[in-house]
């Protein structure tokens, strides 16, 4: 990209792709914003008219809104904590020399390849089911009362399922970072009198900061839109105990056929995601700099 001509040629050749990506983003966003200002219910066709911020005020005053917001943040935060802590622990274990390392590593990665709806069904029917589930059988074997997970702790159960799905991703990223830790640094610390725990605290953890940042940022993007696990297991219930913003938008636009209200909710979710992103970048973005 040295000369003026090659710079212009580069931009020209890049522009179709950039244009396509821009349209891909702006058309759905524009339509959603447009719908959010309309009274637009699929059960009453032909009554669409401009209503200003009415949809937004309905959305904010919906009794499910605040629980949904709190549930969304709880779910995201819970999964992040479990996957980062668990991911570091697994990465440390996988880094130890052991027999059958290759197979164990593949097994650890495996949950990531299972579709969200499938893994949620497996958890719901085979593990957490109070009658047929494995956990219930275990509890009975110990003489305990089986727990009906989705009735007594719906959000925690969903957090566990989602964390199980995302743990491999965190492990993979952190394990790769772990392998790039300089052996000589570890040996130097060993000679300096640092035991395994101090070496972990003073060398491994700082070394993994950048990878942890990547894990947190990428997972947050996906966790804000968790949907299939809720639909398959609790359907947002009991009450609003496991309703997130994404699920609330779904209920309003798809179950109540109110496209306008759903669009307003969608825009609120977009704004929320941006607020979270700004906070995250402020807090941990500096770790990404070289």
């Amino acid at each position: 990209m040295a000369t003026q001509a090659s710079r212009i040629a580069g931009r020209l050749m890049l522009s179709p792709a950039v244009l396509l990506l821009f349209l891909w983003m702006i058309v759905p966003l524009g339509m959603t914003i447009y719908f959010s200002f309309l009274r637009f219910n699929l059960l009453m066709p032909g009554t669409e008219e401009f209503t200003g911020f009415e949809n937004y005020s309905y959305f904010f005053t919906d009794p499910a809104f605040w629980p949904a917001l709190v549930n969304t943040l709880t779910l995201v935060l819970g999964v992040l904590v479990i996957t980062v802590v668990g991911g570091i622990a697994l990465a440390v274990l996988l880094d130890q020399p052991m027999w059958g390392q290759g197979i164990v590593r593949i097994l650890v990665i495996a949950p990531f390849f299972v579709m969200p709806s499938v893994s949620a069904l497996v958890w719901k029917n085979m593990l957490m089911n109070p009658v047929n589930g494995l956990f219930a059988a275990l509890a009975r074997a110990l003489g305990l009362q089986p727990i009906d997970f989705f009735a007594s702790a719906p959000l925690a159960s969903i957090t566990a399922i989602v964390a199980w799905q995302w743990l491999p991703f965190a492990t993979l990223i952190l394990f790769t970072a772990m392998q790039s830790l300089d052996r000589e640094q570890m040996e130097a610390a060993e000679m300096d009198g640092a035991g395994p725990i101090w070496r972990f605290v003073h060398l491994t953890v700082p070394h993994l900061m950048r990878a942890m940042t990547v894990v947190v940022l990428i997972q947050t993007i996906f966790l804000l839109s968790v949907f299939a696990e809720i639909l398959v297991t609790t359907n947002g219930g009991p009450g609003t105990a496991s309703t997130t913003l994404t699920f609330l938008v779904y209920m309003q636009s798809m179950l109540q056929f109110d496209v306008g209200l759903g669009s307003a909710g969608g825009i609120v979710a977009v704004i929320l995601a941006n607020i979270v992103a700004i906070f995250l970048m402020r807090m941990i973005g500096k770790n990404l700099e070289a």
């Binding site: 640094q185 040996e187 610390a189 000679m191 300096d192 009198g193 640092a194 003073h202 700082p206 070394h207």
Partner: protein
């Protein structure tokens, strides 16, 4: 403080024997250099002394105490690594203080020792920088600083200068030598560079294929190499090694003569033609194709006006010839 004794030390990795029975006494306060070609086991030997590898058999004792099974931190040794192994997220101050912090010293004492070490190594202005903001030579000095604050029984250096450029290497070499004179602590230094070995060492240990070939002061090794390997390894440019009829004339299987011990003489016994001719200003290195002897490297003064293709007669200095038998051992 600081005597290291190795007896019958062996190390093998999965059936491959790397160190094959080393007996060595490193007296207190001595600067010992392990030198040898790559893969000769010199770094492994240093790591065995440091405790970063376990010995397969044999014992290592430090200050009269058996240290063979001691963990690295308990041996009272400090090591400077080839990559410096600085902790990248800590400032220079924290890097140097790390061993003191691990030893649980009070903060003000840590502070005092770090400042003192920084002063010795001219690092005071850089104490609050991160290692990534330092030049290669400064990083090297931080690594040395981290080693000296512990006041170890001995310092171990693992090719510490190989990542530096030529000019910096010369000045760091001098700094390390100065440091040894100031601290008078035992130092064990590993290098593949025989110039470093010759200039710094009190005693050189020449290693080859996991065995000690010869131990001696730099000049001993230069004057009387025990075998062909040492003869070829020590000295730059390399000693000429001549086999065949010319060697037989002197009653040896191989005849060795250093390039600087050959004079240009009108009536010299070796007649030949100059090939490559390198004028360095202070010296001139000639490659001379001598009839019946082969190619001979000659080192002569800087003002020799010889060019490629010139004829020349050479005379080796009779009292500087080295004779080796068929097994490669030096003959008396």
């Amino acid at each position: 403080m600081g005597e290291i004794v190795l007896s019958e030390v062996r190390k093998s990795f999965g059936g491959v024997s790397i160190i094959q029975g080393i007996d060595l006494v490193i007296p207190e306060g001595e600067f010992v250099v392990f030198v040898g070609p790559s893969g000769c086991g010199k770094s492994t030997l240093l790591r065995l002394i440091a405790g970063l590898e376990d010995t397969s058999s044999g014992t290592i004792s430090i200050d009269g105490k058996d240290a063979t099974k001691l963990p690295p931190a308990k041996r009272g040794l400090a090591m400077v690594f080839q990559s410096y192994a600085l902790y990248p997220h800590m400032s220079v101050r924290k890097n140097i203080a790390f061993p003191l912090r691990m030893a649980g010293l009070p903060a003000e004492e840590q502070q005092r020792k770090v400042e003192a070490a920084a002063k010795v190594l001219n690092l005071t202005p850089y104490l609050d920088r991160k290692p990534s903001q330092l030049s290669g030579g400064q990083r090297q000095r931080v690594a040395i600083g981290r080693a000296i604050v512990r006041e170890p029984a001995a310092f171990l250096f693992d090719e510490p200068l190989s990542n530096l450029d030529a000019a910096l290497r010369v000045s760091m070499r001098q700094e390390i030598s100065e440091l040894h004179h100031t601290l008078k602590t035992t130092m064990v230094y590993v290098t593949h560079d025989q110039v470093e070995a010759m200039t710094m060492a009190d005693r050189i240990v020449v290693l080859n294929a996991g065995r000690i070939e010869q131990v001696g002061s730099p000049l001993e090794l230069y004057r009387s190499p025990a075998n062909l390997f040492v003869a070829g390894f020590i000295g730059s440019p390399k000693m000429n090694l001549i086999e065949g009829a010319e060697a037989a004339k002197h009653g040896a299987h191989t005849l060795g003569v250093r390039p600087e011990h050959i004079d240009i003489a009108e009536d010299g016994p070796w007649k030949g033609m100059v090939g490559l001719c390198e004028h360095l200003g202070s010296d001139t290195f000639l490659k001379v194709e001598v009839e019946g002897v082969g190619q001979i490297n000659v080192r002569v003064g800087g003002d020799v006006p010889l060019r490629h293709g010139a004829s020349v007669s050479l005379r080796p200095q009779a009292d500087k010839l080295h004779r080796f038998d068929a097994a490669g051992k030096a003959m008396a």
